[in-house]
């Protein structure tokens, strides 16, 4: 199958290419040129052609939580949102702590022929924070990294040993930085808004204390660490100096956290109940800046579909999380526009940068790279409504917002998996 994407503004963040031109695809890979007539020509005039998005945190809710979402619904949402690769955290039911589960998930995803799925295995059995999983077995089954999702490891001895063991095999470890005792019972940033609303708070130092522990264990073990979902200005500053020091660390931020802060809770809007909590306006500003300068390597959707019954509850009782696969591109574009970044830089944070963290060869348009490509209209209005979202999760703080950026076509391995005419 040969495809020619013709006359679009081609942006390849990895190489810095940003020019009107064609993209050729043959045998599932990007090609320099096509020998002979293409089987299909996609007209991209007036549109942007870029690598497909790589999302390092998207919950598909399978196995076990199918009432919140299914692989089918969320894979549809992914490609409609231009996400061609996604890593799924292990907090399914049961968690991804058995090679059999991982294998089944990968097979099911492959059969759907939508986005590429990269399972992240559980770091400890049942995510209970007590015993490391069979990481080598899980890696063989396809796990690309090991994580606790939002669960903590309270026992630092276990954390140390798990990181040591992962380092032995050079497995990357992806962890959130949150001190569980300090975060216990909290549902919002411990600040003026939580005080006014009478919501139990999680102080920002719950993040920095845990991050300090993680960085110290990286120094001790040499474990490659990816810190998930930074939430505070102080944590971003710590990552900046950790990188300067040369530690093998990367990090990401949830796309909601560069747009929203605790003020957006308004009158107890449970759509803003997100883990980690939305912090102050100053924190939001610092995260958006750190993402722009590259201290924060990439933005993720942190896609978490929650059914209506578990969201229409008093703030503290509502399930945390927001739907995000279909909002990642428009929200990234909005962030980039607000900071006046070149489109290539904006896109780097959701394509080539996460590809680097993941260690995959997609996320770029270089000749020979996998042909995971999107064609999108950066100006097309996108009104966020439950009907407009393919994800089974309709839970978004942006419901009712008018965003910009719509995907016209998504290709994975050279096949058109989504097309909007």
């Amino acid at each position: 199958m040969k495809i020619l994407i013709k006359g679009g503004r081609v942006i390849d963040p990895a190489s810095g290419r940003d020019a009107v031109g064609d993209v050729c695809i043959a045998d599932g890979r990007i090609a320099e040129s096509l020998s002979g007539k293409p089987d299909r020509v996609l007209d991209a005039k007036g549109l942007v052609v870029a690598p497909g998005l790589i999302d390092l945190a998207a919950r598909l809710r399978e196995p076990g939580l199918e009432y919140k979402a299914t692989l089918e619904s969320e894979m549809d949402a992914a490609v409609a949102g231009g996400v061609t690769s996604l890593a799924c955290p292990p907090d399914t039911d049961p968690p991804l702590d058995e090679p059999g589960l991982v294998d089944m998930l990968r097979r099911r995803a492959k059969a759907l022929e939508r986005a590429r799925l990269y399972p992240v295995g559980a770091l400890t059995v049942r995510l209970a924070g007590q015993r490391p999983t069979e990481m080598a077995e899980l890696a063989e089954a396809g796990c690309v990294a090991f994580s606790q999702a939002n669960a903590a490891i309270e026992d630092t001895q276990v954390l140390w040993r798990a990181m040591q063991y992962a380092a032995t095999f050079s497995f990357p470890v992806w962890l959130r930085a949150e001190e569980p005792w300090l975060a216990k019972g909290g549902v919002a940033h411990d600040g003026e808004v939580a005080t006014r609303l009478g919501l139990p708070g999680i102080p920002a130092f719950a993040e920095t204390i845990a991050l300090g522990t993680l960085l110290e264990l990286v120094r001790a073990t040499g474990c490659r660490l990816h810190v998930c979902r930074l939430s505070s200005a102080a944590a971003a500053a710590m990552m900046r100096s950790a990188k300067k020091e040369g530690l093998p660390v990367t990090c990401d931020v949830g796309i909601h956290h560069v747009h929203l802060c605790d003020m957006d809770l308004g009158y107890f809007d449970s759509h803003c109940r997100i883990d980690p909590p939305l912090r102050s306006g100053r924190d939001r500003e610092a995260l958006a800046q750190a993402l722009a300068e590259g201290t924060i390597d990439c933005a993720v959707s942190d896609h978490t579909p929650v059914d209506e019954d578990h969201k229409q509850l008093p703030f503290a009782e509502a399930d945390p999380g927001a739907t995000g696969l279909e909002l990642l591109l428009p929200l990234a574009l909005r962030w980039g526009a607000e900071r006046k970044l070149p489109l290539a830089t904006t896109l780097a944070r959701v394509t080539s940068d996460p590809a680097r963290v993941l260690g995959v060869s997609s996320g770029r348009l270089a000749s020979g790279a996998p042909a995971d490509v999107i064609v999108f209209d950066p100006q097309a209005p996108f009104r966020v409504t439950p009907e407009a979202l393919r994800s089974q999760g309709k839970n978004s703080p942006f419901l009712g917002y008018e965003l910009a950026g719509r995907v016209r076509a998504t290709l994975v391995a050279g096949s058109v998996v989504f097309e909007q005419r």
């Binding site: 411990d190 600040g191 003026e192 939580a194 005080t195 006014r196 609303l197 009478g198 919501l199 139990p200 708070g201 102080p203 308004g266 009158y267 107890f268 449970s270 019954d309 229409q312 509850l313 008093p314 703030f315 503290a316 009782e317």
Partner: protein, 316 residues
């Protein structure tokens, strides 16, 4: 930011969810209306027909005797039909969701829902889902707000001190967990009280409490100096089990109101408490029963204030 959900398009009170965000005029309207009901509560026939034919549902998702009873009395004095639902032990334990419970009661033609819930913000969720002719009155949600208690506190202060514009008011104790404190503080600042103080150990004051417009004291003696009004907050026993406080004895020594500490306030200072009191923990009996105490009048005024609120939101 959404419109204040308790006011309708004309700026009138549709629900009473929180004192925060209510204009001064609305607060004064409630206090004024309450004053007119004081006479009713003292008559031999203690009834007015303002809510005749209306149904008031007391929805208590958290146990309460005192507040529920005062709402019930207030509704009956307005000639409403009162239905008490102790949800803490019924539908919720059967797994019914909050909104399903409300939808079911709404189908029974309720006019007013008086809601108490352990989660901050629960009455806001209910108010977003009730029909336009239905009204929600917050009878205490989590740590967030207890607006009728705040209003009755304001009523009591006005009754004894007339004018808010020269008062120094101290709120003492567990502000962190107190919906009463939050509501009262918002009311006092809205009505122009020049100095509102909070007094307590750091562990019982929430983050950034100064942003509520109060000055913070950790030394109770210092904080009580020159006060016209001293509001003692209840210290719940469960606060002793965590890491917040070492013991009730030490708490009383530092933050309990004794006659000796009260002497630092103005000679004509009044002492208030939302009840139920823990004698010997936050307040000494000699003060609770002494000449400065207005704790029992607070309860009486509470009925008039709740009548006022219900008649304003749902009156014929």
């Amino acid at each position: 930011m959404q419109r204040n959900p308790q006011l309708n398009a004309n700026g009138e009170l549709q629900h009473l969810l929180s004192i925060e965000g209510l204009p001064r005029e609305v607060l004064l309207q409630i206090l004024g209306t309450a004053e007119s009901f004081i006479g009713v509560t003292e008559r031999e026939v203690k009834k007015v027909p303002l809510l005749r034919g209306k149904s008031v549902f007391n929805l208590f998702f958290e146990p309460s005797t005192r507040t529920r009873t005062t709402f019930e009395i207030a509704a009956k004095r307005l000639s409403a039909d009162v239905i008490n639902l102790n949800i803490a032990v019924s539908s919720q334990s059967k797994g019914e969701s909050l909104l399903d419970t409300v939808a079911n009661l709404s189908a029974m033609h309720a006019d007013v829902f008086v809601v108490r819930h352990a989660s901050s913000g629960a009455p806001f969720l209910i108010a977003r889902h009730v029909k336009p002719h239905e009204h929600v009155i917050n009878a205490g949600d989590g740590r967030h707000a207890h607006p009728t208690q705040g209003l009755l506190d304001l009523y009591t202060i006005r009754h004894y001190k007339k004018d808010f514009s020269r008062l120094t008011v101290a709120v003492v104790g567990d502000v962190l967990h107190s919906r009463v404190a939050r509501s009262l503080i918002h009311g006092l600042t809205t009505l122009g009280t020049p100095e509102v103080r909070v007094i307590g150990p750091q562990t019982l004051l929430p983050a950034g409490v100064g942003s509520l417009g109060v000055s913070v004291f950790h030394d109770m003696r210092e904080g009580l100096k020159g006060c016209d009004v001293v509001v003692m907050l209840r210290l719940q026993n469960e606060r002793m089990t965590g890491a917040l406080l070492p013991s009730a004895q030490e708490y009383f020594k530092n933050y309990g109101l004794s006659a000796e500490k009260l002497a630092l306030a103005k000679p004509d200072a009044i002492v208030m408490h939302p009840g139920p009191m823990n004698r010997g923990v936050e307040i000494d009996s000699s003060v609770a029963d002494g000449p400065h105490s207005v704790i029992l009048p607070q309860v009486t005024f509470g009925i008039a204030v709740r009548m006022a609120v219900m008649s304003i939101v749902a009156g014929n």
